[in-house]
Assembly symmetry: D2
Homo-oligomer: 365 residues x 4
């Protein structure tokens, strides 16, 4: 089993400033300067844990390189890229007022998108069996014409489009387990029956009016789960909706938008998934890829904002990719795995049933 791993220290240099969490600091609005929720800590600490436990020694390092204009323009408009380019010297905001970047921010965003392209390409070319791209800034909210939700470039959408073009990969399934709706990826492939976008997320968190189960397209499926969903509900969602959808779609490649903001202490959502939950989700997805497309699966890091716990969640996923049989213990298991209502609840099942009903709409491969 060989697993690619794309990380670059510059990802931690993406500068989201002294925002008060989500909003620009402003004393007149009571917003004392602080950190942006999306700062370097959580991701840098994932990498450091991967090194500290020795897991990195079982991975094949993949060197990120900047995404090219051509790659970016597969997903974004020239006007938007021009806008980012013209702000690259000063920094600015990618569009919605919540996606700040500093000088050189586009350079780092290119390196993130390019890191995913490199990781996915390595999988497609068979140089590695599967891959994890630990990138920053995230990408799954970015739209054709604007950044959004901390995202500048649609990392996964760019990688999917790039390997389709470069390597002729036909059917691609993107499974988005970030706790927020993968609206950018969905929009990028809204008219494309060959790219299944499948997003499991907390009901109406971000974008605020997006990700409804009722949204339709040639190959899209949304599963909004109620706030408070834990391992039980998530695993049931994967087993009853995600896996059947994948089996029906029969992708040639599976990409996973690996957000960890459904974790049990994340500030930016209200879910309860633990490292063991993420481990099991990853195992199900990796097994499905093994069954359906020769194991070709690549994960790209998206959200996840608790600097202490995200590392253990991501580490568990990377262990699964690498086929580690003796996992590094999650020291928070005693705290988080046994909280009340971790198991599937009836109102969670109702949400799953609603998405299950739409499985017949997934185009068969």
């Amino acid at each position: 089993m060989s697993t690619g791993y794309a990380y670059h220290e510059l990802y931690g240099w993406h500068d989201t400033g002294t925002h008060a969490g989500l909003l620009p600091a402003d004393p007149r609005r009571g917003l004392q300067p602080h950190r942006h929720f999306e700062n370097a800590e959580a991701k840098r600490r994932v990498h450091e844990l991967v090194v500290a436990t020795g897991l990195v020694d079982r991975l094949v390092r993949i060197a990120p390189r900047p995404a090219t204009d051509d790659e970016i323009l597969l997903v974004h408009s020239r006007a938007y890229l021009d806008r980012l380019t013209s702000s690259n010297d000063t920094g600015g905001d990618a569009g919605d007022g919540g996606s700040p970047f500093g000088p050189g921010g586009l350079d780092i965003a290119r390196l993130a998108a390019g890191g995913v392209v490199q990781a996915v390409t390595a999988v497609v070319e068979g140089r590695v069996d599967n891959a994890y791209a630990l990138v920053r800034p995230p990408g799954h909210h970015a739209l054709r014409d604007t950044g959004m939700g901390f995202c500048l470039l649609g990392n996964i959408a760019i990688a999917a489009a790039a390997v389709r073009l470069s390597h002729g990969v036909e059917r691609i399934a993107v499974v988005d387990i970030d706790v927020h709706h993968g609206n950018g990826t969905q929009a990028a492939f809204a008219d494309d029956p060959a790219t299944l976008t499948l997003s499991v997320h907390q009901d109406r968190v971000f974008p605020p009016d997006s990700g409804h189960v009722t949204e339709r397209g040639p190959a899209l499926l949304n599963l909004p789960l109620p706030p408070g969903t834990g391992n039980g509900g998530y695993l049931e969602a994967v087993r009853r909706v995600v896996l059947p959808a994948l089996r029906r779609f029969r992708p040639d490649l599976v990409l996973v938008a690996a957000g960890f903001d459904a974790n049990a202490v994340d500030p930016l959502a209200r879910m309860m998934v633990t490292a063991s939950g993420y481990r099991e989700i990853a195992r199900l997805l990796v097994d499905a890829a093994g069954e359906l497309c020769g194991g070709r699966i690549a994960f790209a890091h998206e959200g996840g904002y608790d600097p202490v716990y995200v590392p253990f969640c991501a580490h568990a996923v990377i262990e699964v990719l690498a086929g580690v049989t003796e996992p590094f213990p999650d020291p928070f298991e005693a705290n988080f795995d046994h909280q009340g209502q971790q198991e599937l609840q009836p109102h969670q099942e109702a949400a799953i049933v609603a998405a299950e009903a739409l499985l017949p709409e997934v185009p068969m491969g």
Copy 2:
């Protein structure tokens, strides 16, 4: 309307070290040094917001002083106080491995408990109409013989016992809206029919097996709400359980364990309450105190771990106490008040109904 406000800068000096969130940092367990979830930021920023908006000018400053041995021994054992005293020069842990403190930690804990005593006393003596004690470390998990859950001394329990002794206050109701079970306060008055302990919290978060609706006592009521409960469920809980219980009990004084960790971005729970929700909860409690006991109500700060949003939640509550009619706007309202499932959900109502059924057990005043 005059509102007392007890705060001391030393509360921010309580040192919870470089814990990895909840656990001592330890590279062998993958625990990179970081902050403890319970660090100074969230509380210090509450105070700074209260100053920045000018709200402080409408408050009567109450100077905290250290709680005395006699006061502490109303709630804690001599053995435990001796243990804390002997660790005061070096720092240590108050008992459960998750309640660290630095050198001088007991001194600060005394100042927190004493701050609540001072605030409550000012209310009881009528020097102020009501009061807010912005103290740290928190207190509601501390038990007779041990610290627990970041708490060293049972601040509210000590204050309740102290004013009963010093001023003959007979019937005291403690309403605990911290998202975790107020087990320490409950235990302190487990045999006391004159002190109603009423805790609304997330089902089985902390302590892990505590706060069940089935727990019984001469004057206790627990309302565990499911994870993911928002303003709708919380307000319904207050209206249908807390207020009826207070009306039945007819307290001479209401104390509120004002934790803000049910807020919509708190790491340590999975609830969705916003500043407007806390504002309305406070209004209901203040009105109830007005109706039942001449308005005698004091809030003591407990949990609440998001440094950015807790300040707006607490600020809203203090505004209600001070009778502010033009509240300072919550800049996060657009983000958090309209998330999915903020309104009461059926499975939340079921939890409320279960607690409602126990109202007849509340002793009548």
Copy 3:
């Protein structure tokens, strides 16, 4: 003895962003995002120490208010004020690329200048004997037409001009002990024989080519000391240059630009002054004011960038103002007071001698 103390929590909200110390973060220049040297910590911690030791209880709190346009225009040009005003909603830089501010930054700068005005006015009106204004951002580098060196408004120059206008104070001496040259204050009064500007600083640190002993004016004296000067050199400088100049000038009021960046661990200069050195300097200045102008002296906080040690230096000075006879011990005394070459060195004396020679040019009062 009554001592005024002006501090406002909003001073800590002045936002200098994620600068890499002195320069805007920029990955292309290798500048990883970090803090600006001039961030809130050092000043906020001074205030917290003043509270923690109880010193605040011996002080008379003076409420800062924003400086008015009229006050600001006594020192700055309308064009510059308009420029700051137009950037107030977005934040920006006050002029030299090293003086960043966030949204609302001008509001805070006004509050800083106004805090000094209030403190100085209280002294002039005899409501307090002396005063300390713990303000931020600093002011002594700001020029008529531009901000500079972290400074937006010339706090002390504004206060001096304001009380001259409002209260007819004729002769004012500004003693600048900040380790950098007080070029802004010097420039503001470059043609004014009634305002003596006297700056003791490290030779050519900032501004880089400024503060030479050879600079001349109707009432100015610069004493550039060599890097590495400690308590010995500083006290000799005060005794042999500052005090004689004051005695010659015979001011009606003494203002002190109280920078603490000559402290023994400051990053932004290379001096070795300790808390005991600052204490003695303050004592000499306070005694001189007592001898010369009825004790009318006010200190305004300027630089000082080590968050750990600046508090003890400033605390010592405030103790002197307040006439505290049993000072709070400096816990770093054993570390810093006995380093090599703390005593006056011959090359330091040479610099003092050069300035001494210019004393006859100080206009006699």
Copy 4:
């Protein structure tokens, strides 16, 4: 030219706690919790700069491994190692109250010492031409029986003793350019004429009464420079004392204790060396090694506490080792290289002359 580079992310996990700079936080002493001066930032940022500029691609990564008991016991006593071992589970202090470590701290200290051993061994074996070991915690103050000055194990002393034993390296010169006296290394070889310990440092900073020019031994030379010394004085010191001593001693291997705390903004000393100064010092030392011992030279990172500027200083040194001809520009050059008195001063020269006089005592090789 091939240059080894030893770094491990775990070096950043060495936990120096919430110390107030140098002293344990303690509210009773006015010591508000903060960071220890010796925290992870400065070193981690060196590594990140080395990656960000691409310099890392020109280096040969050397994997650190823990130093063995046998290696440690070449320099330290069994009693001391036992003491560290018995504190390894809880954390503690290595001896002087200023050398704190967390749980697993000995493990990281072993990895630091072992990283230096690996780097030096690679040079000795000719696998690389020279090497840089970017380790933490530092080592040059550690004594046989106790830790001291943030140091747990004497990294360089251990490496020197280890390669002498393992590879029969006879004559080793240790040049210590850390701004503090390399007392630990000096003590380790106090009786050994085959190991020249040569320390250039600020006069009497740390240890407080140590590093005098008058100290004698079979092969030791101390050059205490006055506070305020800049590039001019340092380069003169290297040219007139260090290089002649090396030429006289004729080492088989040169080790450099590469502290960067003589940098122009370091809190823990009062020197003014800039990146260009460090670059030139490194060039002189590398050239000397080329002339004297086939270029066999290894640098081990010691102090250096400004997180913003240390990276540029260390980066310049590593560039010299790697033979980079187009150096990455120091963005702070305009700020720091032109400060007053960067050039050699007479009182600095006097100190150099005093050490020069002792050159004849250096044993000839």
